[in-house]
Every structure is written in C-alpha cells, then in structure tokens.
C-alpha cells in the first residue's frame, strides 16, 4: 500500500482556503445612500404622479430608484382630479403612448419579425452589457487566474506526485480506444470553445487596445466560427462520455473512505478506489451537469429566440417559494425575447467559467501534476504500480476478471497489444 497521498485533498484545502480569503477580503458593498423613496413619492404628488426632477437626479446619481410608478402613472383608473393631471387629453395623451412603448406595454402589430420585432425599447440590454463587462469579466477572469496561481503554488509545495512503488513493467489497459476518442473529442472541443469564448469576452479589453481593431476583428470572426461549430463535437463527446462512464461514477461507499481521508491527506494510506476515485467523480459530474447546462444555453444562443429557457425556469423557481422564503423577491417571468437571449448568454458564460476552472485543475493533475496519469488517456496503458497506487480496487477487479477468463497477467510493455481490462 502506498504511503503517499495523491495530493488531491491538499489541493481542495488550498482552493477552499483561497475561497475563504477571497470572501474575507471581498470589496466592500457600496453604502446605501439613496434618497428616501417616501420623499420621492411625496414629491410626485405635486405633479399628479409624474416623475420629478428629484427622480431624474437620483437616477443620474446612480441610485436605485423604484420606477414602477412610471408604469402606473396615467392609467385609465387614475384619479382625474389629481392636481396637475394630464388635463385635456386625459389617459390617451402622447405621453401615455410613449410610456407604453417605453415599457413594452403597447398593443403593437408588426408585418414581420414576430414577438422579437414588437419590442421597440428594450433597456435590459444595458444591464446585460454592464454585467458582462463588469462582474462577469472581472470575477470570471480572476477565477481562472486564481486557479492557475493556486495550482502553481500547489506544484511548488507538493511537486509532482510520483509513483512510490517500483515500476513493474507490466501494464493494464486503463481506457479503451473508444473511451479515449470520446475524451479527446470532448477535451479538444472544450479547450477551443473556452479559448474562443475568452477571446470574445476579453478581446475588446486586451487585444483591441494593444494590437488594434483589425486583429481583434479577425480574431472575433474566427472565434465566432469556432465557437458556433465546435459546439456539436462538444455535445457529442459529452453524450459519449456520459454513456460510457456514468456507471463507474455512481457514488458508492468507497467514496466515503476516499473523502474521509480527503484523498489521502488524513492518515498514511492511499485510499483505495475503483475505476474512478471520489475526486474524479466530482470532475465527471461537474463536466456532465455543467456541460449539459452550457449546451442548453448554447443551443438557445445558436438558434436565437427559438429556445427561450428562463421565463419558465424562473416560474418553476418562484413556485418553490425558496427565494421568497429567503427574503428575495420573485424572479421575473414576463421576459422579452431579447432578455431571454441576454440571460442565456450570461448563464452560458458564468457556468463556462466555473467549468473552465475545474478543467484547468483536471488538466494539471492529468499532465504535469501526476506522474503516469497522462498515459491513461494517451496510450491507454498504465503500469500496474500506478494502477495499484491510485486505483487499487479497480486493479483487483481487472486481475480477477483476467483470472476468470483464464489469462495470466502478461508481461506487456505499452503499445504491444491490449489486455481487455475494462
């Protein structure tokens, strides 16, 4: 039994520590210095409910002003005797029409374009743009940088995880060709999708000011082509990997041992594992669940306005009452087609950032982080010493199966033929 841990537990601890530090040293929330809403409402009595200069100035100061009164002002049921009401034209005045257009409440008919064309003023675009260039780019970018820095620190602290026992020279087939094919189909497309997505988000901030608009434009055109079309091999690879590996990734009692020892951090023994250990199962389910979510929102973006996802999802979330129970308001369920697209884009990017961070860690441990790990997905053959150290239960299963099939464990060097192991 190996005396050294895989180091995965240390890595989880390091990431958790960084997350705690990030939370402790998070930027302070902006002070609540908004004008009293009651005072604003009181001032509106002088205008019959219309907005006042104070409302406009408060918005210009960036305060969060409740604008619901603007929808209500001038309604047919409003008090006609209110001071300074709309007087001669009543509720059918021009402001009434413009307000209806402004708040997407007008009864419009369009000759082409459907519901999308009926939205004449869609101010959600500004909120989307602000969020995309603000919190999304900032926190998403730092998440990736932080992950890489954490891995670099981890490598300096822990070094490359070696193989404690001497190499046997005998190999077992860890992954069959079709498994490796699906893995690399998924991996290759995900890496290119990630890079093209990052160019699309960050090109304006970093490439354009440094290298000029021509290069940025060409990169964006190429990124769009790559991103749109590599979505299909990514989804195919995701389905293949799910079908082939889901059985091996169902949580079982060996995971309890694995997590109890934090992948080897607690105690001296390396925790036994089947084909996939607890950490790998986390990677698997992250890829499947986050990848499926990215695929869904990506399809919604690939076929604009055809697959709206959020209004119905928000309605389901509202029905659970969880958000309301936590003191948050209900989520909006009356979304314009454009808002559906904006939310799909933001969700797509947020989930992709999380998955990219996870995959960066996966790439690390599968390459420079652990000796012998790449062979599993490269040639498919791993040394028995490596298999015994990291997946002892799986190695036992393989050997039992070989014995049952009447085969002796062959002395076999990588690439000299496969032993049906899985």
């Amino acid at each position: 039994m190996s005396q050294r841990s895989s180091g995965f537990g240390w890595f989880i601890l390091l990431v958790a520590g960084l997350a705690v530090l990030t939370f402790i040293f998070r930027p302070p929330a902006p002070a609540e210095t908004g004008t009293d809403p009651a005072a604003l409402a009181e001032a509106r009595k002088a205008t019959g409910g219309a907005q006042t200069l104070e409302d406009i100035l408060a918005r210009q100061r960036g305060e969060n002003v409740d604008l619901s009164f603007r929808r209500e002002f001038g309604q047919p049921g409003a008090d006609p005797n209110a001071p300074l009401a709309l007087a001669p034209l009543g509720g059918a005045s021009d402001p009434e029409m413009w307000r209806a257009l402004r708040y997407d409440a007008a009864d419009l008919n369009v000759s082409a374009g459907g519901d999308v064309a009926k939205v004449l003023v869609q101010d959600g675009g500004m909120a989307w743009y602000e969020f995309r260039k603000g919190p999304l780019a900032t926190y998403g970018g730092w998440l990736l940088v932080g992950t890489i820095v954490a891995l670099a620190f981890f490598y300096l602290l822990r070094g490359r995880i070696g193989i404690d026992e001497p190499m046997t020279g005998r190999t077992v087939t860890r992954f069959q060709a079709i498994e490796r094919f699906a893995h690399w189909l998924l991996a290759g497309s995900f890496v290119l999708l990630g890079l093209s997505g990052l160019l699309t988000l960050f090109g304006r901030f970093f490439i354009l000011p440094t290298f000029g608009p021509e290069l940025n434009s060409q990169l964006l055109i190429a990124s769009k082509f790559v991103h749109n079309n590599l979505a299909w091999p990514f989804m195919l690879g995701l389905v293949m990997v799910f079908v082939m590996w889901v059985w091996h990734n169902i949580p079982d009692r060996t995971d309890i041992t694995w997590f109890a020892q934090a992948g080897g951090i607690i105690g001296k023994n390396h925790p036994p594992a089947k084909k996939f250990n607890g950490g790998q199962k986390i990677i698997f389910w992250s890829v499947i669940l986050l990848g499926a979510s990215i695929s869904l929102s990506g399809l919604s973006l690939l076929f604009p306005f055809e697959l709206p996802l959020f209004a119905k999802t928000f309605a389901i979330v509202n029905d659970t009452g969880i958000l309301q129970g936590l003191g948050y308001g209900a989520l909006p369920t009356d979304l314009t087609p454009q808002e559906e697209m904006q939310l799909a884009q933001l969700w797509h990017a947020i989930v992709a950032f999380v998955l990219m961070a996870i995959i960066i860690a996966h790439i690390y441990i599968g390459s420079i982080g652990m000796k012998g790990a790449f062979d599993a997905m490269g040639s498919g053959e791993v040394d028995e010493a490596w298999a015994h150290q990291h997946h002892s239960l799986w190695l036992d299963e393989v050997k039992a199966r070989e014995a049952k099939n009447g085969k002796n464990t062959p002395d076999k060097t990588p690439g000299t033929g496969a032993t049906p192991a899985e």
Binding site: A112, A177, I178, R180, F181, A182, H183, W184, L185, A187, G188, S189, F225, V226, N228, N229, L230, A231, W232, P233, L236, G237, F303, P304, M377, G378, S379, G380
Partner: protein, 41 residues
C-alpha cells in the same frame, strides 16, 4: 495517441460538417434574421 488524434480529426470534421450542413439547410443568420429586401447581395 491514435485515439487522441482521431478525436481531434473527428472534432474538425464534425465542426466543418455542422457549418456546411446548417448553412445549406438555411440556418445561417442571414437566412434566419433578415428578409430579402434588406440584403445587399
């Protein structure tokens, strides 16, 4: 390494196939989001 290279090759083939096929089927942005009277070509 053959499986890895095969995966990458399949990735490229699928991407080019999707691009060509979807365009042929009329799923390009131009076909989907504009009408003939607003195109320059």
């Amino acid at each position: 390494m053959k499986a890895m290279l095969s995966g990458f090759a399949a990735m490229i083939l699928l991407a080019v196939g999707a691009w060509y096929g979807l365009n042929e089927m009329g799923f390009s942005t131009a076909d989907q989001q504009t009408g003939a009277n607003v195109r320059l070509d």
